[in-house]
Symmetry: C2
Subunit: 197 residues, 2 copies
DNA sequence: CAAATAAGATACTGCCAGTAGCTTAAGCTG
DNA sequence: CAGCTTAAGCTACTGGCAGTATCTTATTTG
């Protein structure tokens, strides 16, 4: 596979091949153990070519990560009650975070300190992951009269995922049990909504 | 300083000297940039001696971190209202987390994946930091009639710090602005208490 | 077809974790 | 205090990896 390549790739095609190889390596060994040599080998090129495109290992991995994100638009759950909507969103977030890709995001965010620029996109990704969806769910709840409009701020709306994220940052990589999600919703999120209604 | 040492230290005294040197290095350059050579040099000994005591760089740093923890007992704020008590606790937590030592804890938790044993103590440290204090504050609020006893669960009581911690895990090392603390208290914590009262 | 550009190969520097083996000081034991 | 055991300290090494330099060669473009 690496040996007999007919043509010499260039430009965008090569970019793409390198990113693809990086994604595969990330899946295979994770960010922490990924080496530039391995990526180069897998892409059938040399490190040099990579460094001409991305300034560092971290930047390359971030670029690759961003390329591998799911592009399907979020569909917002609409079950008729805040409780089950919120639970559905939380479960989805939990699944995503416990995915290899989710772990990768955490590894990247944790493992890159010295590279503010590519990192910005990542944090953005992580933190704004779904503000809109939560607001949408709450907007519906407001229109049903279940919740007061004063709850429609990012801080309030995303409390549940924020707590979930905190769970991950404490517990490490393991998936969070469903009971915890229910606890977050019933002990925190719903009471909070109630007080805003 | 490294040259003319009269005696050759042994056992506990040497342990101590190495841990001390590690602490100094951690303060000087942080976990990520700490090298075993530097620690050995600072302690006036050799890497060999260190590796006879701790199996790896990570284990050494965790040991050093645990030795440097503040031992002063927490005093619980008692200002007469949940709002200012909570704000005081949050501010204290924020100060601690933005401290070099706090950053170090996060660096360690994030940077050590392959060593479950020493890590357990660390996570413990991070997560149980202050459950008791928050419960105490709430207990007082309950006895004042400000809050309902149903709020006296770890999950509910610590929501504010949990959100703060989340803030750190997203924002990186920087200290969280006071306005965010106020936002957490006024938009989330107090409403939550209200709904439990 | 020639000049410019970029890919690919190879080899190198520098850094650092962890290891090996030896020398020598400290402390114990009789 | 002599002799033995233990561990400190020294020096040098292996191996892995990020990032760089240099040169050759394929591809594009004018």
């Amino acid at each position: 596979m690496t040996s007999a390549r007919p043509t010499r790739r260039r430009g965008a095609a090569l970019d793409e091949a390198i990113l693809q190889a990086t994604i595969e390596e990330l899946h295979a060994v994770g960010f922490r153990s990924l080496t530039m040599d391995a990526v180069a080998a897998r892409a059938g090129t040399s490190k040099n070519v990579i460094y001409r495109r991305w300034p560092s290992r971290g930047a390359l991995c971030v670029a690759a990560y961003l390329r591998m994100l799911p592009t399907d638009a979020e569909d917002t759950p609409d079950t008729g009650s805040v409780r089950s909507d919120a639970l559905a969103l939380l479960q989805r977030a939990n699944e995503r975070m416990s995915t290899p890709v989710g772990q990768m995001l955490r590894e990247l965010i944790a493992g890159i300190q010295a590279e503010p620029e590519p990192l910005r996109d990542l944090r953005e990704q992580a933190s704004r992951a779904g503000v809109a969806v939560w607001l949408k769910v709450l907007t519906r709840a407001v229109s049903r009269g279940e919740v007061d409009p004063s709850a429609l701020t990012p801080r309030v709306a995303t409390v549940a995922v924020d707590l979930l994220r905190n769970e991950y940052s404490l517990n490490g990589a393991r998936s969070v049990p469903d009971a915890v999600l229910v606890e977050i919703v019933d002990q925190v999120y719903l009471p909070l909504m109630r007080s805003h209604g």
